[in-house]
Each structure stands twice: as structure tokens, then as C-alpha cells.
């Protein structure tokens, strides 16, 4: 057991910190900017620069242009970039879609997609949820029917965030309607400019835009299917595990940020709060919870570094982070009293540069996205602790 980084990894972390300090976002939350800046030119440049430096692929196999170094490099990179909120394409794309294509794609697909994912030429939205398939994702009904060298796709997806600017959607569809629901799903990587695709915006309560995407007789070449036909559910489960690792890292660093900014804000604007021992005790509780989250995130990293798929650990990090987000914003807003009510547009300006309000609604959302926390707890109990399966209808 050891809890420090070997010199090479410590040095790498310093390099990333420096890069992140130079390119990190402004330490404020501007609702209009936030809508678009993941798609910005700057964000694409950051991604391209990260790829030029070889940082995105340090942990990858050599035949894919990687360096086959410890998975901790990828982990450290994600941690440090998340801390300063460096935007580099869609944060999730490379960490979720990349590994899935690497593992399940054909040689031709790997050669075609992976370099473009790293360079930022291909960006991906996630096409999982449907109006009637949310937590029960395996009930999805959007269907793809084989037609010669193509599939014809019909149906609709919802909560497809980023689809209005990404180049592709990573799409889960039903390819066998007779099979049990987990055994009739396939995965496609579909360009969003194909004929028959329409995107409708959905405005969310915290100024976030998401989308509904409609597929109307969309013709997709068969070589855009990733992995075996009807085996998509199992690939999806792997991708969801990786998504939770990414969520855990990003959520942890977001919360660290909001916490540090809250303390800075209190020091500058509300010394009366920091002089109150009860308030300090409340903040210490949050600080304790952040350390427990750090412990879960590092435990998750350790599982990944050991070459295993994270499941219970990533789920625990996700549950802990999202519930802590709600507790943290609640505590800080409560300590501020009525000043905590002010948001952008108020002449006083919002406290903590608007990040409290953002985190309030964002953590409300995050508790159920990426697999609702209730489902995460089921995963922990069944996959992690080996409890018998709860009763579900087939």
C-alpha cells in the first residue's frame, strides 16, 4: 500500500496542472456562455493540443497510437483538467466511446474513428434514453431493420444533450423485437447529418439545453454498427461503467471547486459567517464528506488501474458525489440566509459567482442521470455485495 505518486506520475500531474491553469475557464458561471462553450473553437483547440502532446492516449495500446502506460495517467489527466474546468470537446466522448470502440470495434472501425475522436473531429452525443425507456433503459424501442448493406432506423431519443453541435450520436437501438429485451439491442455510431434526422431543443430549468432526436427512415450503413448485432446491452453496461468513472471525477472536482469558491466568497463578503463556530462546524462536515468522496474516487481509480472494470466503486462515487452536491449547496445557501437567494441579473450579483445555483440544479439532475442513484445502489448490492436479484418484471 502506498498513497503517493511515483516521480513520473507526479511530474505528469504538475505538467497537466500548469496546462490547466493556463487554459482553465473563467472562474464564474455565465449561463449563456455555458450553453455553448463545450462546442467552442477554444474547446476544440484544447482537445487538439492534448492529443498533440500525446496525453489522451498515454494509457492506450501501442497499435492505437498509445504508450501503454499506467491507467493512472488518464485518471490524473481527467482529475486535473476537471479541477480548472478545461473544456476539451465533450468531456465524456473520448472516455466512454473510445474504450468501447477500442474493445468492440473492428480494425477498420478503430482506424476510422479513434484518431478522429482524439483530434476532436468526431464528437458524440449519447443516444440512450427514450420517452418510455429511462431508468429501464433495456425497454428502448427505436428500431433498426436490416436492409442489404444498411439498416433503416425509426424512432426517437430524448435527453440527447449536445446533439445540436456534435457530429455523431452513439445510438442504442432494437434489432430483434422477438428476443428478451436485453438480448435484442445493437449499438451504432451515427452521423447526425444523415437524411431523416431532426433535432428539437428542450430547455431545462437551469439554462441547460438538451434535445429530442427523431429518426425517420434514416438509412445507416451496416459498418456503422459497433460490435455484434443484438449484443449491444452488454457493451452499453461497460460504457455506462466508464461513464460513471468520468462522472465521479468531474463531480468530485466540481464540488471541490464550489467548496473552495464558497469559502473564498465567505471570507471576502461574509466574515460574520466564518466567525460563527456553528457555521464552521457545518463547513467541516462538508469538508469531511468531500474527503470521503475523494477516497471513493481514488478507490475507483485503483480498480481501473488494476485492469478491472469498475462497478460498485464507480456507482458509490456517483451516488456520494451527487448527493453531496445537494447537501453542499444546501448548507452554503443556508449559511448565507437571504443573500443566498440572489441570482444572475440581481444588481448585487449572485453569491459564489453563480456556481451555487448552478450546482443546486445540476446536482438535482445528476442524482438521476447516468443511472438513477436508486439503480446505482442496486448495482452496489447485487454486483458488489452479491445479494440476490430484487424482483423485476422481465
Amino acid at each position: 500500500m502506498r498513497f503517493d505518486w511515483p516521480p513520473e506520475q507526479a511530474e505528469f500531474r504538475e505538467e497537466v496542472r500548469q496546462f490547466a491553469a493556463e487554459r482553465g475557464q473563467k472562474p464564474s458561471w455565465d449561463q449563456d456562455e455555458d450553453r455553448e462553450n463545450w462546442a467552442s473553437e477554444e474547446s476544440r483547440e484544447n482537445l487538439a493540443e492534448l492529443d498533440r502532446r500525446g496525453w489522451l492516449r498515454r494509457s492506450w495500446p501501442k497499435d492505437l497510437g498509445g504508450q501503454e502506460m499506467s491507467p493512472w495517467y488518464q485518471f490524473l489527466l481527467a482529475l486535473e483538467l476537471a479541477y480548472t474546468d478545461v473544456h476539451y470537446g465533450r468531456r465524456g466522448t473520448s472516455s466512454m466511446i473510445g474504450p468501447a470502440i477500442q474493445r468492440y470495434g473492428t480494425d477498420a472501425q478503430r482506424a476510422e474513428y479513434l484518431p478522429k475522436i482524439w483530434s476532436g473531429e468526431i464528437t458524440c452525443a449519447l443516444g440512450y434514453s427514450e420517452p418510455n425507456a429511462g431508468s429501464d433503459l433495456a425497454s428502448l424501442r427505436t428500431r433498426a431493420v436490416r436492409d442489404g448493406d444498411s439498416y433503416i432506423i425509426n424512432g426517437s431519443k430524448i435527453w440527447t444533450s449536445d446533439a445540436h453541435w456534435t457530429s455523431h450520436v452513439y445510438l442504442a437501438v432494437r434489432t430483434d423485437r422477438q428476443a428478451p429485451k436485453h438480448r435484442g439491442i445493437s449499438i451504432f455510431i451515427v452521423p447526425l447529418n444523415l437524411k431523416g434526422i431532426t433535432i428539437r431543443p428542450i430547455e431545462m430549468m437551469f439554462h441547460h439545453r438538451t434535445n429530442e432526436v427523431f429518426f425517420d427512415d434514416v438509412v445507416v450503413p451496416a459498418d456503422m454498427r459497433i460490435g455484434e448485432e443484438n449484443r449491444g446491452w452488454y457493451m452499453l453496461a461497460t460504457a455506462l461503467d466508464h461513464e460513471r468513472v468520468t462522472m465521479a471525477i468531474n463531480n468530485y472536482m466540481d464540488l471541490v471547486h464550489v467548496f473552495e469558491w464558497s469559502i473564498d466568497y465567505l471570507r471576502a463578503a461574509r466574515p460574520d459567517v466564518l466567525a460563527d463556530p456553528v457555521a464552521l462546524r457545518k463547513l467541516a462536515e462538508i469538508r469531511l464528506d468531500l474527503s470521503m468522496l475523494r477516497a471513493l474516487v481514488m478507490t475507483t481509480g485503483s480498480v481501473v488501474a488494476g485492469g478491472e472494470a469498475p462497478s460498485k466503486e464507480a456507482s458509490a462515487s456517483k451516488v456520494w458525489a451527487t448527493e453531496l452536491g445537494t447537501r453542499m449547496t444546501g448548507t452554503v445557501m443556508d449559511l448565507l440566509g437571504r443573500a443566498g437567494t440572489q441570482v444572475a441579473g440581481s444588481p448585487d450579483g449572485p453569491p459564489v459567482r453563480g456556481r451555487l445555483e448552478q450546482q443546486l440544479w445540476f446536482s438535482a439532475l445528476q442524482r438521476f442521470t447516468g443511472g438513477a442513484n436508486e439503480i446505482q445502489r442496486t448495482i452496489i448490492a447485487e454486483r458488489g455485495l452479491g445479494l440476490p436479484r430484487e424482483r423485476r418484471t422481465a
Binding site: W72, Y83, L280, R281, L283, M292, V319, A381, G384
Partner: protein, 358 residues
């Protein structure tokens, strides 16, 4: 960063576990607890097998174990619920062998290695007029809450000496030492000790006293992790096997979700605890680090053991079933060496000024 046990640590864990499984039954623990003392036969056995010398450095003829090795052994002992002053003795041994005076180290080696003795830290609370002090080589004063005070041959007392606060080693069997047994919620041996002109060896300086507090605190975190782990390990098979409404309890979502929260809190606490052990071993543990680990361990152990009681129902409350050892001791250790609230109060002193703690 590597959370796996080393080969040596695996060996420590396995050999300690096997020995305890052979020798320490729940009935034996119950009998020792009912008797009010400690398991003297097991202590002798641990001495014979070399466990008492294993944290002495190799240059002193010991096993050269570091604090992580000690923690791994302690976790196994704590899971067995054996009533022995292992954490106490190891805290004193680790502190004095790393930071003690020559006199102190020699006396310690004689007491522990040669004579299979045990040492209790006596740093507990004292009333203002009875704070231990040393003059002319003898120690006088009183200390409350000395864990295993009666069981140990020696006490390592925090007292005011000629060089300020120091550690002094005294023979607890000396006539000038009187001990009043205390009764605590953990049902573990404990006393209030009074020292009347007892010969005392200057064993460590102020830094050694600070280190003893750190080591004892973080070893109490290890005990809390062990109690939590045992409570969880008892609960999982129980809810898997117990059938109600014609189905195992473990298939109920409400039960599953509680088990998930138990293991998540435990995983986080285990990491923080062992990270803090590692930091103490390297001499880089801050007050905030220590308070964080203790607050986490205290909170988690009470949460996990009390949830275990809820999921066990009546069976968990019986004295025939071992859960009560762990819930009792979790409650006791959660309050020793800084309760959750006391630890949060320490953390609160730093929370507004910390940098780069992430």
C-alpha cells in the same frame, strides 16, 4: 498509488487470521468479557509467536514492521473481537522505538519482548489538580480512561517533566499505582489510574507525546474499520439467507439500498484510514488529516453497526450472536481519541484556511 497489500502484509493478515480463527471463538470472547479482564492466554500466545516484537526495528532485534503492517495485524485481531491490549501496546512500541529515549527503548524492550508485558498509553483526561507531573524521577497524578490499564504491566504516561510535557514509562504493578476499574459501553477493560510517587523513566519528549496521540488515534480508526467490516460481513449472508414473505430479505430493495450505503461508507473510510496510517508512518500527517480520518471512522462505524442491527432484527440483539461485540466496541471507539463532533471541531479550525487539500 497502490491500494493492494504487499506480500508481507498478506502474510501478516493470513497468519494472524488463521491463528485467531483456530483459537478465538465467540464463546471464548464472551467468557473473557464476562470475567472483566483480558485474554491473558492469547496474549502469551501472541508473544510466543513473535507478534509483540514485530514492530520493533530490525536493528533492535525486532521484526521491522511499519505502521501499515501493524494496522493489517490489528484489523484481524479487532475482527476476532479478542480482548487483548494489542492496539495500546503497538501504539507505545511504535512511538518509543521511533521517537523514544535510549532508556525508554531499553525498558520497553525488556518489558514487552523479554517479559511478554503490555503497555497502555495513559494520555486520557485529568482534573486540573491531578495532572501527572514528575519530580526527582517519580511520577504523581491521575489519568482517567486508561484502556486495558489493569491488563498492562506498564503505562506510558503523558506528564509534565523538567523539559515540559513528556512521556514517562512506569511499572503499573508498583505499589504506588492504584487503578479503579471503569465500565464502558464497549465492555472492554479500562481504568482510572492514580500514581503516587511512582518511579518513572523519561521515555520520550514532547514530539514523542504528539506522535503517540497520532498513532493511537489512527489505530483506533483501524479498529473502527474492522468493526464496520465485521458488521457488514455478518449482515450480507444473513439477509441473503433469511426468508420472509417467501423471499430472501436481500431481494427487497429497501434492504439492498441500506447494504449499499453501508459498503460505500466503509470503502471510503477504509481508504482514508489506511492513507492516514501511511501518512503517520511517513511523518506527514496533519492535524486536519487525522481529524478527517477519525471523524469518518467514527461516523461510519456507528452508522454501519446500527444499520446491521436494523437488518438483523432480534437475532442481532442476542448475546448468542456476535454482532453486539462490534456495535458495542464501535460505539466505544467512536468516542475515544476524538469523537466525530470533537474531530469536526478540529477540522473546523482549518476549514477556512486550507489550500491544496484535494
Amino acid at each position: 498509488m497502490n491500494l493492494g497489500l504487499s506480500d508481507t502484509q498478506e502474510m501478516i493478515r493470513d497468519s494472524m487470521r488463521q491463528q485467531l480463527q483456530r483459537e478465538v471463538s465467540w464463546q471464548r470472547v464472551s467468557a473473557v468479557v464476562a470475567d472483566g479482564g483480558h485474554d491473558a492466554a492469547l496474549w502469551k500466545r501472541l508473544a510466543t509467536d513473535g507478534w509483540l516484537g514485530f514492530a520493533f526495528p530490525e536493528v533492535m532485534g525486532g521484526g521491522g514492521a511499519d505502521l501499515l503492517d501493524v494496522a493489517v495485524a490489528l484489523e484481524e485481531i479487532s475482527k476476532s473481537a479478542a480482548v487483548v491490549p494489542f492496539a495500546e501496546t503497538m501504539a507505545c512500541v511504535y512511538t518509543l522505538t521511533r521517537h523514544g529515549t535510549e532508556d525508554g527503548q531499553a525498558a520497553l524492550a525488556e518489558a514487552v519482548v523479554e517479559h511478554a508485558g503490555a503497555v497502555a498509553p495513559a494520555l486520557g483526561e485529568s482534573s486540573d489538580d491531578a495532572r501527572p507531573a514528575v519530580s526527582d524521577g517519580t511520577l504523581s497524578g491521575s489519568v482517567r480512561y486508561v484502556d486495558y490499564g489493569h491488563s498492562c504491566t506498564h503505562h506510558l504516561v503523558g506528564a509534565f517533566g523538567s523539559a515540559g510535557p513528556q512521556l514517562f514509562l512506569v511499572d503499573a504493578r508498583w505499589p504506588g499505582v492504584t487503578q479503579q476499574p471503569l465500565a464502558n459501553v464497549g465492555m472492554t477493560p479500562q481504568s482510572a489510574a492514580t500514581y503516587a510517587s511512582v518511579p518513572a523513566i523519561a521515555a520520550g519528549d514532547e514530539d514523542a507525546a504528539a506522535l503517540l496521540t497520532q498513532v493511537a488515534t489512527v489505530l483506533s480508526c483501524v479498529q473502527l474499520v474492522a468493526f464496520s467490516q465485521q458488521a457488514l460481513d455478518l449482515t450480507i449472508p444473513y439477509v441473503r439467507d433469511r426468508v420472509q414473505f417467501e423471499r430472501p430479505l436481500g431481494t427487497f430493495q429497501a434492504v439492498q439500498q441500506q447494504c449499499a450505503d453501508m459498503v460505500s461508507a466503509l470503502d471510503a473510510t477504509r481508504y482514508l484510514t489506511y492513507e492516514t496510517v501511511w501518512k503517520v508512518d511517513r511523518g506527514i500527517c496533519s492535524a486536519a488529516d487525522l481529524a478527517t480520518a477519525k471523524a469518518a471512522a467514527s461516523r461510519t462505524a456507528v452508522f454501519v453497526t446500527m444499520t446491521a442491527h436494523q437488518l438483523h432484527g432480534g437475532m442481532g440483539m442476542t448475546e448468542e450472536y456476535p454482532l453486539h461485540f462490534f456495535s458495542r466496541r464501535a460505539r466505544e471507539r467512536s468516542l475515544a481519541w476524538g469523537s466525530e463532533q470533537e474531530s469536526l471541531a478540529v477540522l473546523a479550525r482549518y476549514v477556512a484556511d486550507e489550500t491544496d487539500w484535494r
